[in-house]
């Protein structure tokens, strides 16, 4: 009897809810201990451009959804990852990791999703304010989503890295363009498959694989990107982003703690980092005042 031949998986990028190959047609080979695992798309600046266009298009609908609905959509991702747990664990192990660590990483990823899902409809209850101005006005401040957020995922984490990096911006109501970990990209592509079959609208999450140092200049200089979340530790890249971001005054957020299993990465301050504060003034007529039955 002939031995059955496995069907190998093609790993593609994720733009606007679809799975194209990179526009450039290039690839790199991911390997572990000298053994090739898969060929991964080497995305180009044009892929970055397309991803930003898709994100911008998705901004209105994602930011306009009720916070409750966004919470449910994020919660649904957690349910879907739970269903693909074995695949994620296997992928993490294949890229070099113990079974224990892999399981731990998947558990933490799911719980982190739940954590941030819960913030969607609470962030403004904690960070918003009614301001007691001295004049006859009702004055309140609310946090609103910022726009398209570019995310450079942590280099040495697979699932937990990308999930933790994209969640704060998503919970805030922003669409994201994620540059996946170059060293550990498998889970990012599988996560894209999860997102494509969950309730996340097209274009809200776009995931590019490839050489991050090649893509960072294009993403951080893009005039239609409003913020960058940088989750690596390369001072040269940080400096590059800081300079490129000046032209449209992109907000830059740097993650300060590189242990992504640490619960310090569960904080609403990451969410507020990707929101703008808007204050509204509205008159209160004072016709009645005294003499009324108040």
């Amino acid at each position: 009897m002939t031995k059955r031949i496995d069907v190998l998986k093609t790993y593609k990028i994720f733009i606007d809810g679809k799975f194209p190959r990179t526009e450039s047609g290039r690839y790199y080979t991911l390997s572990n201990n000298g053994k090739g695992i898969a060929n991964i798309c080497l995305s180009s600046r044009k892929d970055v451009r397309n991803a930003v266009v898709a994100s911008r298009k998705a901004f209105g609908s994602w930011s306009g959804r009720s916070a409750y609905n966004r919470a449910q959509v994020l919660y649904r991702i957690a349910e879907m990852i739970e269903g693909r747990r074995d695949q994620f664990v296997a992928e993490i192990i294949s890229m070099g990791g113990s079974k224990n660590a892999a399981e731990n990483e998947v558990n933490n990823s799911i719980d982190r999703l739940i954590y941030y899902a819960g913030w969607c409809d609470k962030i403004n209850q904690v960070f918003g304010a009614v301001n007691p101005v001295a004049s006859s006005h009702f004055n309140f401040s609310l946090l609103e989503p910022m726009g398209v957020v570019g995310i450079i995922a942590p280099a040495d984490y697979s699932l937990l890295g990308i999930v933790s990096a994209m969640l704060p911006a998503l919970a805030a109501g922003n669409p994201v363009v994620v540059l996946a970990s170059e060293q550990k990209p498998l889970c990012s592509v599988t996560l894209a498959e999860v997102l494509a079959t969950s309730d996340v609208p097209s274009g809200v999450v776009n995931i590019l694989t490839g050489n991050t140092s090649e893509l960072i200049p294009h993403l951080s200089a893009h005039m239609d990107v409003n913020a960058i979340f940088y989750c690596k530790n390369n001072p040269k890249e940080i400096n590059q982003i800081q300079l490129a971001a000046v032209d449209n005054l992109k907000r830059i957020v740097l993650s300060k703690n590189s242990d992504w299993n640490n619960s310090a990465h569960e904080t609403p301050y990451y969410i507020s980092d990707f929101m703008e504060t808007k204050t509204t003034w509205h008159p209160i007529e004072q016709i009645a005042g005294s003499g009324s039955g108040y």
């Binding site: 954590y115 409809d121 609470k122 904690v126 008159p283 007529e285 009645a288 039955g293």
Partner: protein, 488 residues
């Protein structure tokens, strides 16, 4: 005007055929036990009472009646669960249990909706589109708070109170259970909950969901019975907190019972809300808001907009629009998808409403009801409005808890603020005007816990709800709804 304009007619030409919601997918047991310590157990004294369908007066099921011993068992189970498991369960895992409950309610939403309408008489449109989704949303919202309490109350290091005794009314059975249980669990308390005796079924279905969600035994206990059972809960020594929703009369009895004890309380009591329409209001939407304010859930709503104040310049127009709209309301079978007004919850409540209808007429007000076909069996009341009403009429002062609207007029904003606040209640109010500055004037002057502007009877888990004055104390919903279940 030279010729008389013929009034419009809204029925008789093209009437809707019956569109009943199917009941073949629901499961209602013949007999329900008490849910104590994670199990369904028979009542110690073996007593049961019947729950009926108020639309047909037919019996639906037998419900266990909890005695003092049963209450004690439930409180003991709750105490054991609190000190044994629940207080040491991590906040995150606690949250995940609550999320499970939310999801299970969503999955079984249609079954819950049908049973709610069967048992309580409310239209399926409301149980399906309002009660059940809001109940699920409440669990979903509070699940998220479980591991975030330090952000809600910074520098307070909040911790749970212990065992909460919760007593809920018959107007929104599952929704009220959710309003009570969700924040209590999120804050780490365990609960003993008693639904109202006419509407126990969905609370008992919720007990099944809690079992299915695999909550540790005793974290939620649901026991059934009437006022005596409620009184046993209130007076139990090992309860840390009483959360009550119901009439102001019973609320006062409870407050007296717990006076001198360490028990904390939240009281969500009666109301007699003013719904105020100014001449610059979007009139057609105001009409819809008035309808929704008073005829939603047969008017069995503590925050119902039962006192309508109309500025005199638009009185005739508004009343004409309102009466026209009332003609198109459909009264009847709660399970029919087209029903707008279902059955009155109980014979007793129908008696109360009818007493006020005759009182209103006796006091000299003019009663209007659209003509509608009312079934022969069951408890029914057509949508009703009274005009020619003054502040001193009983129908303008007392909570009727039925589909009865008392209409008054006003001329100035000062006058209407005075009249609206001229009540011992203070749960809610409504204001209709196109002018934002007037809205905020009104919201700052109303002595009421919730003010709706250009809308009415909106509820959301993120939004605190509760009253001023004799409408109770404490808030449910939102961040504020966590505080009554925490010590700092």
């Amino acid at each position: 005007m030279s010729k008389k304009i013929e009034e419009l007619k809204f029925s008789g030409e093209w009437d809707l055929a019956p569109a009943p919601e199917s009941t073949n997918h629901i499961s209602v047991k013949k007999e329900y036990q008490l849910f104590i310590g994670g199990k369904f157990v028979k009542p110690k004294k073996g007593k049961y009472f019947s729950t009926i369908n108020p639309a047909t007066e037919k019996k639906l099921s037998s419900i266990a009646e909890a005695s003092k011993e049963d209450v004690d068992r439930a409180v003991k189970a709750a105490r054991k669960a609190h000190s044994g498991v629940w207080s040491s369960t991590s906040a995150k895992e606690r949250g995940k249990y609550i999320y499970r409950i939310a999801r299970l309610i969503q999955e079984k939403s249609r079954e819950f909706a049908v049973i709610e309408s069967l048992d309580g008489g409310k239209p399926i449109r409301e149980s399906r589109d309002v009660d059940i989704p809001i109940a699920a949303a409440h669990f979903f919202y509070y699940a998220g708070w479980a591991d975030k309490l330090n952000y809600a109350f910074p520098n307070q290091n909040p911790s749970s109170l212990g065992v909460a005794g919760q007593i809920i009314p018959w107007n929104f059975p599952l929704m009220m259970a959710a309003w009570k249980i969700a924040p209590a669990l999120a804050t780490g308390n365990t609960v003993v909950l008693k639904p109202a005796e006419t509407t126990s079924l969905t609370a008992l279905k919720l007990a099944e969901v809690i079992q299915e969600a695999d909550l540790p035994p005793g974290v939620v206990n649901i026991i059934t019975g009437a006022g005596a059972t409620g009184s046993d809960i209130v007076n139990h020594k090992d309860i840390d907190k009483i959360a009550f929703t119901g009439s102001t009369g019973v609320g006062k009895i409870i407050m007296k019972s717990i006076a001198g004890t360490a028990k904390k309380s939240t009281m969500e009591l009666g109301g007699k809300a003013a719904n105020i329409v100014f001449e610059d209001a979007p009139l057609d939407q105001a009409v819809e808001g008035i309808i929704n304010g008073i005829y939603f859930n047969q008017g069995h709503v503590c925050c119902a907009g039962s006192r309508l104040f109309v500025q005199e310049s638009i009185y005739d127009t508004l009343l004409r629009k309102l009466k026209d709209r009332m003609q198109s309301l459909i009264v009847g079978n709660p399970l029919d998808k087209n029903t707008d007004i279902g059955a009155i919850n109980s014979k007793e409540q129908l008696g109360v409403i009818n007493k006020y209808l005759s009182l209103g007429k006796k006091e000299g007000a003019d009663m209007f009801q659209p003509s509608c076909d009312i079934p022969s069996k069951g408890f029914w009341c057509a949508p009703t409005l009274f005009t020619n009403v003054s502040q001193s009429h009983a129908i303008a002062k007392e909570e009727i808890f039925g589909p009865v609207l008392a209409v008054q007029t006003f001329r100035t904003i000062d006058e209407v603020i005075t009249k609206a606040n001229n009540t011992p209640f203070g749960l809610s109010a409504g204001v209709w005007t196109d002018k934002g500055s007037k809205v905020f004037n009104l919201t700052s002057k109303m002595r009421a816990g919730v003010v709706w502007a250009n809308t009415y009877n909106k509820f959301d888990p993120t939004s605190p709800f509760g009253g001023y004055k004799e409408s109770g104390h404490g808030r449910e919903g939102g961040l504020h709804g966590l505080a009554p279940y925490l010590k700092f």
